[in-house]
C-alpha cells in the first residue's frame, strides 16, 4: 500500500505521516541478509498533538524516531511531513526541515558538545538558518528564559550544569527555530525522579504555549501515559497496538501491552502485591493461550 501524498494534497490535518515504513541495516559479509529494524510502521501526528511511542530495548522505537529525523535508512514506505515526502530528503532539504523538525536526545551528557559554551550551542541552529549574531543573541536569551535557566548560562560550559539542566539546554536548542514537531528520544530516562517531573512539566508547558507536536519515545509506560494524547506500542520492530493514551495505557488489548502494564511496579506494598498477582495470573493465562493451538 503506497499512500504517498504530495504537497499537501489530501494530507488532511496530519503534520507527520509514516506509512508502510521498513528500515533495514546492511550487515557486513557477502550477500548477507540485512538486519530488519522496523517492519510496516504506520503512524501519524497531528499539529499540537503528542504521540507516545513505548517499547522495550530493541523494539525499534528509537530507530523510528531516527528515521523521521533522517538518521536511519528508509528501505520501504514513506515519511510525509506537512504533505512533503521526506523519506529520502537531501542535505539541503534537511536544512530547510531543520526549522520545523527538531530533536531532544536521551543522554544530556553526550548530546551537548562538551567544549562549546551554552550560548554557542543554542546559537548554532540559528546561525545555520542565516540569522545574524545579534538576532541569535536575543533569541538565545529568550530560550534560556523559556526553560528556566539564568541568562549567565550563555558563557558556561555544559559540564557546569546538572543532568536536568543540561536536558533543558537540549530542549532550548530544539526550540530555537520554533519547530512544529520535536522528536523526543527518551528525554527523561537519564534523569532523577524529581528532575523528570520538572522536565515533563516543561514539555507540557511548551506545548501549551507554542502548539508544538511531540513524537515522544520512552520505555516507561507511566511517562508516556502522562504526556501523550495517543500512544503506539512497539514490539520487535512492529507496532502492536495504537490508540488514545488512556485506552492503551490503562486497558490495553494486545497481550504484550498487558504484560508491560502489569510489570511496572506501583509505589505501595499492598497495591503492588495485587498487581504482582494480577501479573502472574495474566502470564499463566497467556501461556495457556499460547500452548493451546499447539496441543490442538
Amino acid at each position: 500500500m503506497s499512500t504517498t501524498k504530495h504537497h499537501g494534497a489530501a494530507s488532511g490535518a496530519e503534520l507527520l505521516t509514516v506509512s508502510g515504513l521498513d528500515v533495514e541495516y546492511p550487515l557486513k559479509g557477502f550477500r548477507r541478509k540485512p538486519f530488519r529494524a522496523l517492519t510496516d510502521i504506520n503512524i501519524s501526528v497531528k499539529p499540537g498533538e503528542t504521540l507516545g511511542l513505548v517499547g522495550e530495548s530493541g523494539s525499534g522505537k528509537t530507530t523510528l524516531g531516527r528515521a523521521v529525523l533522517g538518521l536511519a535508512p528508509v528501505t520501504r514506505g514513506t515519511i510525509t511531513f506537512e504533505g512533503n515526502d521526506i523519506s529520502h530528503a537531501t542535505r539541503a532539504e534537511r536544512r530547510r526541515l531543520g526549522r520545523d523538525l527538531q530533536v531532544v536526545f536521551q543522554d544530556p551528557y553526550t548530546s551537548l558538545n562538551p567544549s562549546m559554551e551554552i550560548g554557542s550551542i543554542l546559537a548554532e541552529p540559528l546561525g545555520v538558518q542565516g540569522q545574524s549574531p545579534a538576532q541569535a543573541r536575543a533569541r538565545v536569551r529568550e530560550l534560556l528564559d523559556q526553560v528556566g535557566l539564568p541568562s549567565d548560562a550563555i558563557n558556561r560550559l555544559p559540564r557546569e550544569f546538572s543532568g536536568g539542566q543540561r536536558q533543558r539546554v537540549a530542549i532550548a536548542r530544539a526550540l530555537a527555530l520554533s519547530p512544529k514537531l520535536i522528536v523526543c528520544d527518551e528525554p527523561v530516562s537519564a534523569l532523577d525522579l524529581s528532575t523528570q517531573a520538572v522536565v515533563l512539566d516543561l514539555f507540557l508547558q511548551i506545548q501549551r504555549d507554542t502548539g508544538v507536536s511531540y513524537l515522544f519515545v520512552s520505555h516507561d509506560l507511566d511517562v508516556v501515559r502522562h504526556i501523550s494524547h495517543r500512544v503506539a506500542v512497539m514490539y520487535h520492530g512492529e507496532i502492536v497496538e495504537q490508540g488514545p493514551a488512556h485506552v492503551v495505557t490503562r486497558s490495553p488489548e494486545h497481550p504484550y501491552t498487558q504484560r508491560l502494564l502489569l510489570a511496572s511496579p506501583v509505589p505501595d506494598p499492598d497495591r503492588q502485591a495485587k498487581r504482582r498477582n494480577d501479573r502472574h495470573r495474566l502470564l499463566d493465562a497467556q501461556r495457556l493461550e499460547e500452548a493451546s493451538p499447539i496441543s490442538a
Binding site: A170, D192, R225, L262
Partner: protein
C-alpha cells in the same frame, strides 16, 4: 547582568588559556617553553645577533678559540661558529616545522574524512598508510637524497610524508570515537553541513592530540635530519646543526668544542620539545592529582588523623552491648574523599541503620545521595581514595569498620565477603568476564570459598542456574556472557550471589539496566530466594515501585544524609520528611495525565528555576 556577550568562537580560547596557564605552572613545562622561546628568538633575530655570514670563511683564522670577534671561535675553514649556530637554529627549526606541516597537511584532512565517512576512502587510505608505515624511513631518505640531491628541505618534505600516517591514525581514531555522539546527530538535524560539523564539533576533539604529536614529531625531525647530516649526507652549503656536528666530529682532536655547541643545541631543543609535549598532555588531563594526605600536614587533616587511624589486624574492639543480634549495623557512618586543597568532601554523613536476618531494607535516593557509597562501604569496595571519616559498621556482632578506623579493614572483611556477604551489581553484562564461560565463573569461586571439588561445584552451579529460573541450565553453563540476554545475565549473577549461602545480599540497583518486564521477573526471583533462604537484603534503588515490591523497611537518603527511615508502609503512605514527600509526589503513577506535576500555579520555567535554586542550596548545606 547585561554584559555584552560574544557568542561565537569563544569556547576555544577560554579552554586554551587555562591549558597555557597549567603548562606554565608545571616546572618542566615552563623550562621547556623557556628553552624553545630562546631558540626561536635566536632563529628570528639571527641577522641582528651575528656579525658574519654563516658561510663567510676567513682562511687566516681557522680553528681559533673564542675571542671578542668570534664569540665561540671558528671552524676548520675559519667560519664563525656563533653565526653558524644561530643561523643553524633558523634552518633546523624551520625544517622541523616544514616536516610537521607536511605531515599534518596530509594526515589531518585525510584522517578527518576517513574517520567521518568511513567507506571506500577509509579502506584505500588505510591501505596506503600501511604501505607507508612499512617503508624503512632512513632508506627512503637516502634514496631521496640520491635521486634529488642533498637538500634539507626536500629531505624534510619526504620525512613529513613518512610521518603523515601517525597523524592519519590519530585523527581517524579520534573522529571515529565522536562520529556517532549525539551532539553530532543534533548538528545534523539542525542542518549543519558536513564541513561545518567537522570544523565545529569534530576538529576540537583532535586538536589536543595533534598539538602533542606535533611537538614530538618536530623533535624526531630534528634528530633524523641532524643524523643524516652528521653522516655527511646533508647539504654542506647550508648551515645547520647537523652539518656543524659533522664538521666538529672531523676535528674532534684539534678542537673538541666545535662538537659541543651543535650537540648542546640539538639536545636542548629535542629535550624541550618532548618535555613540552608531556606538559601539554598533563595540562589537558582533567583530573587534578591529589596528594595522599600526610598525617598532621594541615589543621583540617590533623584533627582527623589524631582520631582515626588505619585498621590493623590485631585490633578488634567489642561492639556495643545489645546490638550483637543485628546482622548489619551501620552507626553514624561518614565517608569522604580528600580534595586537592586538603579538605575532605563528605559523600556520606552520619548515616545509621540496621538490617536483621531475613529482612529487606531499601535504601532509596537520587543520584549523588550517597546510597551506593553506603552500600560499598559495607562491602569494603570503596575506591582507594575514600576515607571513613566517622562512625562504624558491624556485621554479625563484629566490627568491619571500628569506630576509630579510617578505612574499611580488608583483612577483616575478606572473611565475610563472598562467603557471608554477597553482591548483585547494577550492570549485569559488565560484571561477567567475556573471556570465560558462565559455568567457569560460577564454579571457580565456589571451589575457593566452599573448598569443594570441581565436579561437586559444577553440580551445584547447574542446580543454582535451575533455581534462578534458567530454563536450560546446561546450555547456559556452557555459554559465554555475550551469548545470553541482560535479564539472563542478571539471573546468573544472582545465582553467583547465592552460591556460597550468604547471610546478607547487597543489591545495587539490580534491575535498573533491565527492561520493565524483565525487571518484574528478576524481582520475583529475588523475593522467592529471599523468602526461601531467609537472608538479609540491602536493596539500593531509586525506584519506589521496586521498594514497594520487595522491601520491609526503607531508608531515604539525600546528599549523603539519611533523611527518613521506617516501615515501608509508613514511609510510602505518610512520608514525614519534605524530601520524601517531593520524591513521592514526582511519581507519575495515579497522576492525572497532562497535568503539571511540580509547577502548579506558575509557569514551568519558573518552577524549574526555583527547583535549581533549591538544589543548589541543598548542595551547599
Amino acid at each position: 547582568m547585561s554584559v555584552p556577550v560574544e557568542l561565537v568562537g569563544q569556547s576555544g580560547t577560554v579552554v586554551r588559556s587555562n591549558v597555557i596557564k597549567k603548562i606554565l605552572k608545571n616546572p618542566l613545562g615552563l623550562s621547556a617553553v623557556v628553552v624553545l622561546l630562546f631558540m626561536v628568538v635566536l632563529a628570528v633575530l639571527a641577522n641582528v645577533l651575528t656579525s658574519f655570514d654563516p658561510n663567510f670563511a676567513n682562511i687566516g683564522k681557522t680553528l681559533a678559540s673564542g675571542d671578542a670577534v668570534n664569540l665561540l671561535g671558528t671552524d676548520s675553514v675559519g667560519r664563525d661558529v656563533w653565526s653558524r649556530l644561530v643561523f643553524g637554529a633558523r634552518t633546523t627549526l624551520l625544517s622541523a616545522l616544514l616536516c610537521a606541516a607536511v605531515a599534518i597537511a596530509i594526515g589531518l584532512p585525510s584522517g578527518l574524512v576517513a574517520g567521518y565517512y568511513g567507506g571506500k576512502f577509509d579502506g584505500v587510505s588505510n591501505w596506503l598508510v600501511n604501505v607507508l608505515m612499512s617503508l624503512p624511513g632512513i632508506i627512503v631518505l637516502l634514496t631521496v637524497r640520491a635521486a634529488l640531491g642533498p637538500s634539507v628541505w626536500l629531505s624534510m618534505v619526504a620525512f613529513g610524508i613518512l610521518m603523515a600516517p601517525g597523524y592519519f591514525r590519530l585523527t581517524r581514531t579520534a573522529v571515529q570515537s565522536v562520529r556517532n555522539e549525539l551532539y553530532v546527530d543534533a548538528a545534523r538535524v539542525a542542518g549543519l553541513s558536513d564541513t561545518a560539523i567537522m570544523s565545529r564539533h569534530i576538529f576540537s576533539v583532535v586538536r589536543a592530540p595533534i598539538i602533542i604529536q606535533t611537538a614530538v614529531i618536530c623533535g624526531v625531525a630534528i634528530a633524523i635530519q641532524s643524523g643524516l647530516e652528521f653522516l655527511g649526507l646533508g647539504d654542506p652549503s647550508v648551515a645547520t646543526w647537523g652539518v656543524m656536528l659533522n664538521e666538529g666530529f672531523k676535528n674532534i682532536y684539534l678542537s673538541p668544542l666545535l662538537l659541543v655547541w651543535p650537540a648542546l643545541a640539538i639536545g636542548l631543543t629535542i629535550g624541550a620539545l618532548v618535555l613540552l609535549a608531556n606538559a601539554i598532555r598533563d595540562a589537558l588531563e582533567d583530573a587534578e592529582k591529589i596528594k595522599a594526605p600526610k598525617r598532621g600536614g594541615n589543621t583540617a587533616q590533623a584533627s582527623l588523623a589524631t582520631v582515626r587511624r588505619r585498621p590493623d589486624r590485631t585490633f578488634s574492639a567489642v561492639v556495643e552491648a545489645g546490638t550483637e543480634h543485628h546482622l548489619v549495623k551501620v552507626s553514624h557512618l561518614g565517608v569522604g574523599y580528600p580534595q586537592a586543597d586538603g579538605s575532605i568532601k563528605k559523600v556520606v554523613d552520619d548515616v545509621s541503620f540496621h538490617v536483621d536476618r531475613g529482612e529487606v531494607l531499601g535504601i532509596v535516593g537520587e543520584s549523588g545521595s550517597g546510597k551506593s557509597q553506603t552500600a560499598f562501604s559495607i562491602l569494603g569496595l570503596l575506591p582507594d581514595a575514600a576515607r571513613i571519616v566517622g562512625g562504624s559498621i558491624q556485621f554479625d556482632g563484629k566490627y568491619t569498620v571500628a569506630p576509630t578506623d579510617d578505612r574499611v579493614s580488608q583483612t577483616r572483611l575478606s572473611e565475610y565477603r563472598g562467603k557471608r556477604i554477597s553482591y548483585i551489581p547494577q550492570e549485569p553484562m559488565s560484571n561477567l568476564d567475556p573471556a570465560f564461560t558462565i559455568g567457569y565463573q560460577l564454579v571457580t569461586p565456589m571451589m575457593r570459598v566452599l573448598k569443594i571439588s570441581k565436579s561437586e561445584a559444577t553440580k551445584r552451579a547447574l542446580k543454582l542456574l535451575d533455581d534462578v529460573g534458567i530454563r536450560f541450565p546446561e546450555k547456559t553453563f556452557e555459554a559465554y556472557p555475550h551469548e545470553v540476554s541482560g535479564g539472563m545475565a542478571q539471573r546468573v549473577l544472582i545465582a553467583g550471589a547465592i552460591s556460597c549461602e550468604p547471610d546478607l545480599i547487597i543489591a545495587d540497583e539490580p534491575t535498573t539496566a533491565l527492561d520493565v518486564t524483565v525487571q518484574a521477573d528478576v524481582l520475583d526471583l529475588v523475593r522467592d530466594l529471599q523468602k526461601r533462604l531467609g537472608v538479609g537484603v540491602i536493596l539500593v534503588t531509586h525506584n519506589f515501585g521496586v521498594v514497594a515490591d520487595l522491601c520491609d523497611r526503607v531508608a531515604v537518603m539525600q546528599n549523603g544524609r539519611l533523611v527518613e527511615d521506617g516501615d515501608v508502609r509508613d514511609i510510602l503512605r505518610n512520608p514525614k520528611d519534605p524530601y520524601t514527600q517531593k520524591l513521592l509526589s514526582s511519581m507519575l503513577e495515579d497522576k492525572e495525565p497532562m497535568t503539571m506535576l511540580v509547577s502548579a500555579g506558575m509557569p514551568a520555567a519558573q518552577a524549574a528555576a526555583r527547583n535549581d535554586e533549591r538544589d543548589e542550596k541543598e548542595m551547599a548545606r
